[in-house]
Symmetry: C2
Subunit: 345 residues, 2 copies
DNA sequence: TCACCTCCTGTAATCGGTTACATCTCCATA
DNA sequence: TATGGAGATGTAACCGATTACAGGAGGTGA
């Protein structure tokens, strides 16, 4: 492996000059530049960035902590993060905590050990106290989930409003008994959507029954478990509002196995607008989130924080949208043209 | 930020002693250890790993180059890679090339600049020549896809056999005109599956028509495009073998919009056995790949290559399996119990 | 008491770059 | 001709760790 010294020797200049050529900086005579470049070529020299990194004390890497990448929601947010990261010369490292192999704590240490310049949490199970500690020593931004008792920048939709809008839509279309599938204890977003759900129900004077809360989780399997519980009820609800598309699909699939058709015998509302929602049969009515933008904005905030550590945390709310498809039965009176509603926070 | 010097000063010892304590190595007096640890605690010192990395010239990071993470196939392979990486103290960086933002070439430079210790390709668009060049200067392993004219270790299923098995299954169940949806020009796996398809067709004395090859790609949208082309044909084929579950689902969804039901009016075979295959309506008959194991094995080979650079490239073939569900109509004669077949390469 | 060994600790080189500062050359201007 | 300044280049400190080597303290055996 050739080093900068080898190049300097081959070109008959000092390492400083080679470094200047590499960084295309000022004041090097054109023929010197040429000589250095020839030496670089001849030796097939590739600068070792660790040296630079150590000197400059910046890694140009950021860490994204994500519960899973199997869910398209996260992969889209990550794409948004990546696009802005790349524009600014950053590389993205992914910490997938789902497997439980790498504890979050372990990844957080990477930041403390200066292996990355900042962290974006798409979800966290750490205590707020630890996160605050971390945020003192390293730029941190949250996307999608809000972590209580922390002073971090957060990017997300207005989950309360989104839950409210989804539930209102079901109510407006004649549904009265509405179950709610979520993971409220794990995800703040789920809890907030539930608040919106409750608000809408209250406005219509309906008190939600205890059994309607199916806190099974957000995965396909969670949806299946929720279906099992629904099937044991005396009266099937009119509708189910699931806090993720995966859960909604697990639900529809399981109910269909018992001859209950979504969009006909029962209405199902999802959340996220994953690509599969459009391709599922029946196509899934769901709440669309601007995933790419969430990621992009989060990365922008992080870069801002890296470059200007003393800046105040920000709260960015992006618009969501109801995506109306076939899995929710519409009231006959409802005008057909109203296929979409845009709600700006 | 406290450095090792600060700790040394605070503990009244030299940096060498602190380093020895940190690396729990030999010969430090217990009370010295204690003093150092107290200083570490007091100063809230976290070692900066860049220093160590530079000195040891190993990053303990590996790069995974992946076309997309939206497809569950890849996210599972990545999980497999991560699990083995973690067991061996490595961290995983992800390079997602789908966006087209970061060119593969750019990521490959990360290896040459010693920012990572090795690379796993899950797919590549680089010329074989470049890859060979890269492999000379850095440990490289391929998973899933075979890159022709290269001497790299590869982990995958036997794609020819898998294509053959899937097609044979369709033929055995009475299907004769069988279209094939793939991305043969982009993915070697697709091309190999096509070879298997052709082999099976030939064995049954059927010459595939030109129009049956729908080289639209592997995404949902690709499936939809394939459906459009099918619908323009004079005679709809009996069955379609798609080289990915996503394409199969795009296909089913689009056909269903025209009143054509998969599993009844036409048979659809997918590939990958993503989770959605089980939850789709109709549930998708597909070829299951051991994704986790592919990832695990690839990482094992890479670690082996890192620790022993002169070792010979290996070719590892893992078993696939036909997952029989509802999207393929079975011949009436077919015994119901034979729901699954395991094929070992 | 001396030589020698073991155990512990410190000094300084090193990894591969970047960069502040010094130095030198050359040319323009007074 | 002397002076000053701009531009090009070199020297060496530095980033934060690891580690080879040197050396000192203390114990053991002759």
């Amino acid at each position: 492996m050739a080093t900068i010294k080898d190049v300097a020797k081959a070109a008959g200049v000092s390492v400083a000059t080679v470094s200047r050529v590499l960084n295309t900086s000022e004041n090097v005579r054109p023929d010197t530049v040429e000589a250095v470049q020839r030496a670089i070529e001849e030796l097939d020299y590739h600068p070792n960035f660790l040296g630079r990194t150590l000197r400059r004390l910046e890694t140009m890497k950021i860490l994204v902590i994500v519960p899973t990448i199997s869910n398209q929601f996260y992969s889209r947010v990550i794409r948004g993060i990546q696009s802005v990261a790349h524009q600014n010369g950053y590389h993205v490292m992914l910490a997938i905590t789902e497997s439980g192999l790498d504890s979050e704590q372990e990844y957080v240490q990477m930041a403390q050990r200066k292996l990355v310049d900042g962290i974006i949490f798409l979800h966290s199970t750490l205590e707020p106290e630890r996160i605050n500690e971390l945020a003192d020593s390293c730029p941190v931004v949250c996307a999608n989930e809000y972590i209580p008792h922390t002073k971090l920048s957060v990017v997300s939709i207005d989950n309360v409003q989104a839950g409210y809008d989804a539930t209102s839509f079901l109510l407006e279309n004649g549904h009265r008994s509405i179950a709610f599938v979520s993971a409220s204890s794990l995800y703040s977003s789920s809890a907030l959507r539930r608040d919106g759900y409750l608000k809408a129900m209250a406005e219509w004077g309906i008190s939600a029954e205890e059994s309607w809360f199916l806190n099974e989780g957000l995965t396909f399997k969670a949806g299946r478990r929720a279906a099992d519980r629904l099937l044991q009820m005396e009266n099937l609800p009119d509708a189910v509002f699931a806090a993720s598309d995966s859960a909604a699909i697990g639900l529809i699939s399981a109910l269909s196995g018992h001859g209950i058709q979504a969009g006909k015998d029962i209405s199902i509302m999802g959340f996220d607008n994953n690509q599969i929602a459009e391709y599922y049969i029946p196509a899934l009515t769901t709440v669309s989130q601007p995933q790419m933008e969430i990621g992009q904005k989060a990365m922008e905030l992080l870069i801002n924080k890296i470059q200007n550590p003393s800046c105040e945390p920000q709260r960015v709310t992006l618009p969501h949208r109801l995506e109306i498809r076939a899995s929710v039965r519409l009231a006959p009176s409802r005008p057909a043209r109203e296929k979409e509603r845009k709600i700006h926070p």
